[in-house]
């Protein structure tokens, strides 16, 4: 084992990550993409390559769960396969929301095609079957420091009817609710300008995952995916409740979590990243695939817990400019080169 290798936590992004800037990023014809293309073709669905090669990024085509899910998975898995073992030692894997499915693959708990089956099955369920929705709201200020007032606004909204905590995403709260609740949130929650956007913002075509509104989906998943061939992870896998599945974990427990609690209970991404940092002390966090969007959530978690002395956005930017960035986004060429062949 070379001491020069970066000890890395790999964080896999959620479904909404593949955006217009990713178009064309999967043209390198890797075996992973070929296998996934074949899988999609067998289902009579647009292949990953077709989606990735589209002239224009289309909301309907690229954002819809039945396409976006496997597209994001493919891009992430493809990047994970390109990590150079001479440069990087993956010591733990986590994910956000659907990214947990990808993490199952990256940790070795699922092989590529079983992971693809899981992603595709859950994604396809979204076709014409979006249940409620998810809304984003920042709980940090412009310096990425937690804002007590914004946090208390979110707490207040969570007391509204059929409104649930969906994902604790670092500096962003993801609130889930039924259609009426989402409408009310968008109408009545105090507006706030953060960065260039006004919040609350609804995630397009997303169901209220990680809330009790998904109980039926979870039951259904158990009925169609209980044969999922899960193995004990080769690399420790961090779940959305902070639990860590190690090399001797119970596969029944992983399956039960994946199809049960992961779907209907809040996904505490913040806790999972904190757990991973505080248990493994990685040199860096690698964001594969279209995971650049995870940079802000991970950075705000690091700032919240004072990781590597980070106190605000300015500290983070400075750390990123150093020779050993705390986050390596594989979307960014200069950072990607630190971890790929």
């Amino acid at each position: 084992m070379s001491s020069a290798r970066l000890r890395a936590l790999v964080v896999c992004p959620g479904r909404g990550s593949y955006g217009k800037f990713q178009l064309g990023s999967l043209k390198n014809g890797s075996p992973i993409i070929s296998k996934l293309d074949a899988f999609r073709a067998s289902l009579n669905r647009p292949t990953i390559t077709e989606l990735d090669s589209a002239e224009r990024y289309s909301g309907l085509k690229h954002v819809a769960g039945e396409n976006a899910s496997l597209l994001t998975f493919a891009a992430t898995a493809n990047d994970v396969s390109q990590l150079d073992p001479e440069k990087v030692d993956v010591i733990a894997v986590a994910g956000n929301s659907m990214g947990f499915y990808t993490a199952l693959y990256a940790s070795g708990a699922l092989d590529l095609m079983e992971a693809a089956r899981l992603v595709e099955t859950m994604g396809d369920r979204q076709r014409k079957n979006v249940i409620g929705g998810q809304v984003l709201y920042p709980i940090v200020d412009e310096d990425w420091v937690e804002s007590p007032s914004q946090k208390s606004t979110v707490q207040e909204v969570l007391t509204w009817e059929n409104t649930f905590e969906s994902i604790s995403l670092g500096g962003t709260a993801v609130i889930g609710g039924d259609t009426e609740a989402v409408r009310k949130i968008l109408r009545d929650m105090p507006k706030i300008i953060h960065g260039l956007r006004e919040y609350p913002v609804q995630l397009p075509l997303h169901s209220a995952f990680h809330t009790p509104l998904m109980n039926e989906t979870s039951d259904w998943a158990h009925s169609v995916l209980s044969d999922l061939s899960i193995r004990a992870p080769k690399i420790p896998l961090v779940a959305g409740d902070g639990r860590i599945f190690g090399r001797w974990a119970s596969t029944d427990e992983i399956l039960d979590y994946t199809l049960g609690s992961q779907v209907v209970d809040p996904y505490d991404f913040s806790k999972s990243i904190k757990s991973a940092l505080y248990d493994y002390a990685p040199d860096t966090v690698v964001l594969p695939g279209p995971g650049d969007t995870m940079g802000n959530p991970v950075a705000t978690i690091m700032i919240k817990i004072g990781w590597r002395g980070l106190r605000d956005k300015a500290d983070f930017i400075e750390a990123q400019r150093s020779d050993s960035p705390v986050i390596i986004s594989m979307t960014r060429e200069n950072q990607r080169s630190l971890v790929v062949i």
Partner: protein, 742 residues
């Protein structure tokens, strides 16, 4: 450079595991790890990871000590079998841990998702303010989410409170209050073989047996981790077993702490016994101590090398590795990979921990010590009591309808009302139930509130205060009684080292609110002497954050008791309520029949804030500062001096001995420029020393004198008056101070 014992233990483990013969790997990890065991292979693998983590924490601590970054190197090496005990318990079983509990702590941390026990322990070692339980104030094993109240546990002083928590665990059946823990929870408490001899330990275990002997539930599992050494002193091989295997109503379990299967199976039996019978259990695990007592301890100086090597050969971590390899559950390489991975992880985590902030200001250090929120306390005092519930408690004759009465009676009524106001409150001590206390302060309360809420304890003050701490941890509002001030002293550390430190060591996350009532001071007619009329309070005055209330008359006593209870509820405050025995039944002040020391009972009196004194008498020639018996005497002397000498004496009652009403004291003193402190405690270490210092430091520049009790043990009978402050001394001092001018 010579290898340290830590290096030797480390290398020996690696060499011995490398030499193990790999077996064909089995994948059925739900199978027993060894034939006939209930411990599964998966559990055993998890325990190995915990044990190896704990071992590397010890190594990292020593490395960080060399660089000056770690302040704590007492290790858990050799005691890793406690991980198997944690596995047999639930994270909701409250655990009071001793200082070699690294493996227990890590194992419990693994049972609750999102916990980071490795990093937390390292933050504690480097005293970082980011450490989640003590905030850098001490290296302790503690955690709110893991139900582990922190303590340093160096002298077995955590056993009384562990027994206290256990004794209160099932009391909800008799009190309209339930702790926020599952109903079948038990309490766990571990300690070493040497600590088992400490009076706190023997007393606490005795108390648990005493209660169980009467069929009172005390669901506690004691774990004696017997490594055969108390620092350098050998524990006789069969001592622990001889001392504890045959105690009444306590089951004894013995296991091998070096073998996780035996440790787990025995622990499971013990846990099940305690959980189902609600009786105490004593688990005795034989194990070893590796790496010496602490980093600075050179064990070769008192322990033969051959014995050290013999123990190192018994390394429990290797025993677990051997079990796993020989069972086909893991290969030597897998275990060594994990071992090396943990080495890298703990080193990296240690590096991060070192970079974390430290406590930098005095304010930060003391912030959680004993926070007081005066407004919230006042609001709580003024919160009314439900009239119907009061009526139900007192019956047709409400106490306020009675004629004016003395302090003991008014305290009784205040306690009654507090029992109504706080359904979670409990009163206990020696003789407080049927007898109603030595001075009848708790008379009839047991009958009215029920024996579940007002109950007798055995004759042991450490147990009484430990019971209060444990009760406080579970959410109760305890009002323990110590029968006499002199009896506090054998148990005082339960306040000093435990109760008063809890918020400090837990950054305010754990609280043990209580109001300790103590009958104290001298001047008791027809009785007395050192053992019943002690006048030493110095031992309380220097406990940071401890509130000491000391009323003189019934009306103040009632209001101040309400304030202390409100502070306990609002801020988790620990208060000592020092009641002057000699004034309990006093009716008159200046002359027989004036009844000036009797007062009517007010169900809703005005609020007396903590640290708020009272001017009893206006005057312009001299100010007397006093409290309790001294106040009563001073008022009498002041009246006489006015009448006979025309001297105008101000009399100010401190009412609170901690914190002092400093601003008021200064203001009162400056009004006359002459101050006489009447101090019924001893000249040396007595309260007047603190009053003098406070006044001078506050800028008082006038005349300052005192009369105080002699530095003497208080004798029996009238001879006591020879050493105690007397009225003629007060009179003489005042005359000397103002005589020339009048």
């Amino acid at each position: 450079m010579a290898l340290s014992r830590a290096d030797i233990v480390d290398k020996l483990f690696v060499d011995r595991v490398s030499a193990l013969e790999p077996r064909e790997l089995r994948s059925d990890l739900t199978s027993p790890v060894r034939e006939g065991a209930s411990l599964t292979a998966r559990q055993a693998l998890g325990i190995f990871e915990t044990q190896a983590s704990s071992r590397h924490l010890d190594f990292t601590a020593r490395r960080l000590k060399i660089t000056g970054d770690s302040f704590y190197t007492i290790s858990s090496s050799g005691h890793e079998g406690s991980a198997a005990v944690a596995e047999a318990l639930r994270p909701t079983d409250m655990a009071f841990l001793h200082y070699r509990s690294g493996s227990f702590f890590v194992q419990r941390g693994r049972q609750v998702p999102g916990e980071s026990p490795l990093f937390d322990v390292l933050l504690g070692m480097v005293a970082s303010s980011d450490e989640p339980i003590a905030g850098g104030r001490h290296k302790v094993f503690g955690s709110k989410p893991l139900n582990i109240p922190p303590q340093t546990s160096t002298i077995g002083s955590h056993l009384p409170k562990a027994v206290g928590a256990a004794a209160m665990m099932d009391r909800h059946q008799r009190v309209q209050f339930s702790p926020e823990l599952p109903e079948d929870s038990i309490v766990f408490c571990n300690f070493g073989d040497a600590s088992s001899n400490h009076s706190t330990s023997t007393g606490a275990i005795n108390s648990a047996c005493w209660a169980a002997h009467q069929n009172l539930p005390v669901p506690i599992l004691f774990l004696c981790e017997d490594n055969g050494l108390g620092i350098s002193v050998r524990t006789p091989g069969s001592w622990v077993e001889s001392a504890y295997a045959h105690r009444p109503d306590m089951a004894y379990f013995r296991g091998d702490g070096l073998d996780i299967v035996d440790a787990y199976e025995t622990a499971l039996d013990a846990v099940n016994y305690v959980r189902t019978t609600r009786k105490p259990g004593f688990l005795h695990l034989k194990l070893i101590r590796l790496l010496g007592h602490a980093g600075s301890d050179v064990q070769q100086n008192y322990h033969p090398l051959s014995k050290i090597q013999e123990d190192e050969a018994k390394d429990p971590l290797f025993q677990t590795a051997k079990l796993l390899v020989e069972g086909g559950w893991a290969t030597p390489k897998q275990l060594l990979d994990l071992y090396e991975d943990l080495r890298v992880r703990t080193e990296a985590l240690g590096k991060e921990a070192v970079s974390r902030p430290k406590l930098m200001t005095r304010e930060e250090v003391v912030a959680p010590m004993a926070p007081i929120d005066p407004d919230a306390i006042e609001n709580e005092v003024l919160r009314g009591i439900d009239a119907d519930q009061r009526g139900e408690f007192w019956g047709t004759r409400l106490p306020e309808s009675d004629r004016p009465r003395h302090m003991a009676m008014q305290l009784n009524r205040a306690l009654g009302d507090l029992l109504v106001k706080y359904p979670e409150s409990v009163i206990f001590g020696e003789d407080v139930a049927k007898k109603g206390g030595v001075y009848h302060v708790t008379a009839d309360l047991s009958k009215k509130a029920g024996v579940g809420r007002v109950f007798n304890t055995l004759l042991d003050e450490q147990t009484i205060l430990g019971l209060a701490i444990g009760a406080g941890h579970l959410g109760y509002l305890p009002i323990p009684e110590i029968q006499y001030l002199a009896y506090l002293h054998n148990a005082e550390d339960q306040l000093r080292g435990e109760a008063a430190t809890m918020q400090f060591f837990s950054n305010g996350q754990f609280k043990n609110p209580m109001v300790v009532r103590i009958a104290g001071y001298a001047y008791q007619k027809g009785f007395g002497g050192h053992y019943h009329n002690d006048n030493s309070v110095a031992v309380l005055r220097d406990i940071p954050g401890l509130i000491i209330a000391s009323p003189s008359r019934g009306d103040d006593a009632v209001s101040m008791l309400r304030t202390c209870m409100a502070a306990a509820r609002v801020n988790g405050t620990v208060s000592v309520f020092l009641e002057p025995i000699a004034l309990y039944m006093t009716k008159d002040l200046h002359e027989v029949g004036d009844e000036l020391w009797r007062v009517p009972y007010e169900p809703q009196s005005s609020h007396i804030a903590i640290g708020e004194g009272k001017t009893w008498r206006e005057g312009s020639d001299i100010t007397i500062l006093s409290w309790a018996n001294g106040l009563w005497m001073s008022l009498r002397v002041a009246e006489r001096l006015e009448r006979e000498h025309g001297i105008s004496v101000r009399v100010f009652d401190l009412r609170w001995l901690a914190p002092f009403p400093i601003e008021q004291m200064l203001e009162e003193s400056n009004k006359t420029g002459k101050v006489l402190v009447v101090d019924e405690t001893r000249a040396t270490g007595g309260v007047s020393e603190g009053i003098f210092t406070a006044l001078i430091e506050s800028g008082f520049t006038g005349d300052l004198r005192r009369v105080a009790a002699m530095d003497s043990i208080i004798p029996l009978g009238d001879a006591a008056n020879l050493v105690l402050v007397q009225e003629d001394q007060i009179e003489e001092a005042v005359l000397e101070m103002v005589g020339g001018e009048k």
